[in-house]
């Protein structure tokens, strides 16, 4: 479907100013942000829907998404956290368009950026931007330093060690006997160990940083609690980075520091911030996908049996599970720095945009019958669960390798795996930035 056959939408109403933070932004952006209002939707005249919206079924998208995709694919919503307006983009084509557009910024300090946490202005002013919030050329400089760590070849070289880690944890599960909570027995420790070894973070400290990083994903935390978690993790990583500055090891942080001696693109705080992004991004997301993916397979025994019989289906199954859950739905927040047109709608400079990848990954025009899990789905790989554009998850291939290892090993070594709780008793992370399940009791 092309933009010119979509109905044209009126421009959002320009009303009184709301959310000017005035932090180091271009004048055009600041002025445009002053004209936003969260009152009503120009598309329908009704009060703006609230964002985030909840998934009513763990295997699907929030119900509102399908309606938006059909009737007003680029439309406005009010952020629950502060009532400010944002654009929601729901079609696959448009999500790719927005995330591939150099006229949108990821800088969370710009007025109009759609925050999903309450961050006090003084904290925002001080915060060092993570790579995912940087724009080119700063973003490109940092990403280029990290790309070699995550190439297809490097990830292939990591596979034997990943398999070993998975096997050790499955051994422990089998030795302990069921029922066990799969989240604590396997889903969390595997990616946590993998990223610790890659970064050179001592795994014996995992309990502490897992707690901090889980806190950083929680929508419902107070700004003080959120700030405390970030600060605690940064203090920990600050010491670690200092240690590696003096005694380099064979790890990602040390290699980054080594390259930085000639490239000189990052100061000490930048390195700590980079390490935090890699550590949090590297285990929380993968852990959630492990647990949700196993749950999905247990709830689709026919497809689970097919996978057991034919492990070559595994890579495709991983893509389909990534698509179905698209756990980091609203992680792709942007703010327009120039006026852009998306699906016939003009998004003004300074207006926030959430390019919803869970909505895109349930777009019927790309994924027929999108709510059905189909491990043989040909187009599954077109999903945007890792995002799209210059900020696409740098660890995507590592995540794929971990998911293949975990799902494949469980199916092979514990073929009788089954849920040890009633499905309706499971608690899902409706309150978090990254979707998941808190516990997954299993037995065999």
């Amino acid at each position: 479907m092309t933009a010119d056959i979509l109905p044209r939408r009126p421009r959002p109403a320009s009303v009184t100013g709301t959310d000017v933070t005035g932090i180091g932004a271009a004048d055009t952006v600041r002025k445009a942000a002053m004209t936003q209002s969260a009152d009503t939707a120009p598309e329908t005249g009704a009060p703006l829907p609230q964002f985030p919206m909840r998934r009513t079924c763990p295997f699907s998208e929030p119900r509102e998404y399908a309606e938006m995709r059909a009737d007003h694919p680029v439309s406005r919503a009010a952020l629950k956290v502060n009532g400010k307006p944002t654009w929601l983009v729901t079609r696959h084509e448009h999500v790719r368009q927005v995330l591939g557009d150099s006229r949108v910024s990821s800088n969370l300090k710009l007025p109009g950026y759609p925050h999903q946490f309450h961050i006090p202005e003084e904290m925002l002013a001080q915060v060092r931007l993570m790579m995912l919030n940087l724009d080119p050329p700063e973003h490109s400089a940092q990403r280029r330093m990290l790309i070699p760590e995550f190439t297809a070849r490097r990830v292939k070289e990591m596979r034997p060690r990943i398999q070993q880690i998975v096997d050790e944890h499955v051994d422990a599960m089998l030795a302990a006997g069921g029922p066990v909570d799969l989240v604590t027995a396997l889903a969390l420790p595997v990616p946590s160990l993998v990223i610790c070894e890659l970064l050179g973070v001592p795994y014996e400290d995992h309990a502490r940083f897992e707690e901090w990083s889980a806190a950083m994903m929680n929508h419902d935390l107070s700004p003080a609690e959120y700030g405390a978690a970030v600060q605690a993790l940064d203090m920990y990583l600050d010491k670690l980075v200092t240690l590696k500055e003096n005694e380099p090891g064979d790890d990602l942080i040390s290699r980054f520091l080594e390259k930085n001696r000639t490239e000189r693109i990052a100061d000490h705080v930048d390195v700590v911030t980079m390490a935090r992004l890699m550590l949090v991004g590297g285990h929380e997301t993968t852990a959630n996908m492990i647990a949700l993916g196993v749950l999905a397979l247990l709830r689709h025994p026919g497809q689970m049996a097919e996978l057991q019989a034919d492990p070559t289906l595994l890579p495709g199954a991983v893509e389909e599970l990534l698509r179905v859950f698209s756990i980091s739905d609203s992680g792709t927040a942007r703010v327009a720095v120039e006026d852009i047109e998306v699906g016939g709608v003009t998004i003004r400079a300074g207006e926030g945009i959430l390019a919803l990848n869970n909505a895109a990954d349930h777009d019927e025009s790309v994924f027929p019958d999108p709510d059905t899990l189909d491990i043989r789905r040909k187009e599954a790989r077109s999903h945007l669960a890792f995002g799209y554009g210059i900020h696409q998850c740098i660890g995507a291939n590592l995540a794929r390798a971990e998911l293949e290892a975990v799902y494949g090993t469980l199916l092979r070594r514990i073929p009788g795996l089954r849920l040890a709780a009633a499905p309706e008793e499971l608690r899902f992370k409706d309150d978090a930035m990254v979707y998941g399940v808190y516990e997954l009791p299993v037995t065999w």
Partner: protein
């Protein structure tokens, strides 16, 4: 069919190297390298998929 890639745009996702390893690779910097600029016709499907899935739109297929 002729394949080109803009290394300046590449963000190192490695999708091309995974999807079409005869045509694409990543060098030591992790950036795209076109191994065969005029790949065999039977690779058209995977080459197009690699171009379509490239998050940085750095791959062009001509003809």
């Amino acid at each position: 069919m002729r394949v080109t890639a803009e290394r300046d745009r590449c963000v190192g996702s490695g999708q091309c190297a995974l999807l079409s390893p005869e045509v694409f690779d990543q060098d030591d910097d992790g950036l795209v390298v076109v191994l065969r600029e005029e790949p065999a016709e039977e690779l058209r499907g995977e080459v197009f998929q690699a171009a379509d899935l490239c998050p940085a739109r750095s791959i062009r297929v001509h003809g």
